[in-house]
Amino acid sequence: MAKATLMLPRVLKDAVGTTRLSVTGRTLKEALADAYAQIPALEHHLCESGKLRPHILCFLNDDNTRDEGTLDLPLKDGDTITIFQAISGG
C-alpha cells in the first residue's frame, strides 16, 4: 500500500473540514476510496452516480487523470493527488 496526499480546493474546507488528507492505496481509485471512508461527505461532493462530477479534474502529480480514462492508476509513496474545479466565465 502506498501513502499519498490528497489536496482539495479551498471551497471544500467548509464542507469537509480540511484541504489536505493522508490516504493509502495501491491505486488512485483505492486512495480516493480511503478518503471517502475517512470523510463520507467527500464522496457526495466529488462524485455523482459513482463517477467524478463533470466539472472536477483529478490530477495524479502532474498528470490529468481524465486523459487516462481510468482511476485504476498505480500509486507510489509520496504521490500527490490534487482535485481541481473548473473555473470559467467572464
Partner: protein, 373 residues
Amino acid sequence: MADRVVVTVGTKRGLFLLESNARRKDWKVEGPYLKGWQIYHAVLDARGTPRVHAAGSSEVFGSSAFSSGRKKIKFEGAKRPPKAPDLLPKALKVAKKYGCNTSKRLWHIEPGRASERGVLYAGTAPAGLFRSEDDGRTWQSVEGLLRHPSRKDWMVGYGGMCLHSIQLDPRDEKRMIVAISAAGSFRTEDGGKTWKPINKAVSKFKGAPKNEQVGTCVHKLLMHPAKPGRVYQQNHVGVYQSDDYGDTWQPIHAGLPFDFGFGLALNPADPDACYVVPLDPEGYTFRATPGAMKVYRWNAKKKTWTALERGLPGDGACVSVLREGMANDTLDPCGVYVGTGSGTVFQSADAGRSWKAAAMHLPPVLSVSAAVV
C-alpha cells in the same frame, strides 16, 4: 424587549449576516461566509444556543447543509448531507425539452418546533424532504412523501423541481405542510408517514398534468403561527388564503397589479395580514417589478391590498425577488425584509409602512430569513 435581530442573507456568492437591535435602525453587515457556495436559504435557529444553518449549493461540488454557532462563525458541512432524489421520467422529459434546471440542490432548511431540540427539516431540488435529529450533522429522507402516488406527475419549473416550503404546526407535532414547485402542497397529520395533496381549487399552470391532486405551481407557502388553520400561498397563478390548513383555498389576488410573484411574508401579530411583491411575468421586465418596487400588504378583514412604497425605489426599478427572498421577524411591530436580485436587502421596522436599505451592493440575493435572539 428582545436584544438582537439577525437577518441571514443567502446570495449567489456566499452568506451574509445582518444584525441590529430591536429598533432595527442601523445594521451591521458580516460576511461573506461560505464563499464559493450559493446559499439558497439560511436560518438562525434561536432554540437554545443560537446556531446558523445554511443550505449551500455549488455547480461543481453539489450541495450540503452547513452549520455554525452564532458567536464564533465556523461552518461545518453535514457528515451525511441530504441527497436529493432523481427526477422521474415525465419530469425529466419536460426538463430536457424546455431546458429546466435539473441540478441537485439543497433548497431550504427549517428548524423543528421549540420542543424538538436538534431537529431540522430540509427541502431539496429535485423535491425531497429530509429530517435531521442531530442539528444537521446527518439527514434522513422522509420516505412517506417520496412514495406518494402522485409523484409520477410532479413537474419541473424553469428553476427545477424544488421543495421550498416546510411549515410545522406549532400546536400539533404530527401536522406539517410542504410545498413543491411545480407539484403543489401536501399535508401530513401523522408526522410524515402519509401525505394528502391540498391543491383543490388552486389554479393550474399552462400544460399542467391532468392529475386532480397535483399540477399547481406553488411558489411559497406560510402557515400563520397564531391563527389555527390560516395558511397563505403565493402561487405562479395567484395568491391564496386558507382557513382549514389547505383543504380549501380562496383566491385573494384581486387588487394586485399582477397575480404572479415568488416571495411571501407574514405579520406574526396579525393573522389577517400577509406581504407579497407582485412581479410582471411578461414583457421587458420579465419577472421583475414593473418600473417601481412596491410591497403589497393584505388585509383579510377588509379584503383589500395596500401598496407600501415609502422608501422603496421607483424611477424605473426593475428588481427581482425570489421565493426565499422575503421574510418577517417576530417583533411587534414586525420587521419585514425583502432581498433583491440586484443585491439590496430592504427592511421595514414598522410592519411595512416605511422602508430602507439595510444592506446594498451584495451579490444577487437568493434568500432572507430573520430571527430574534
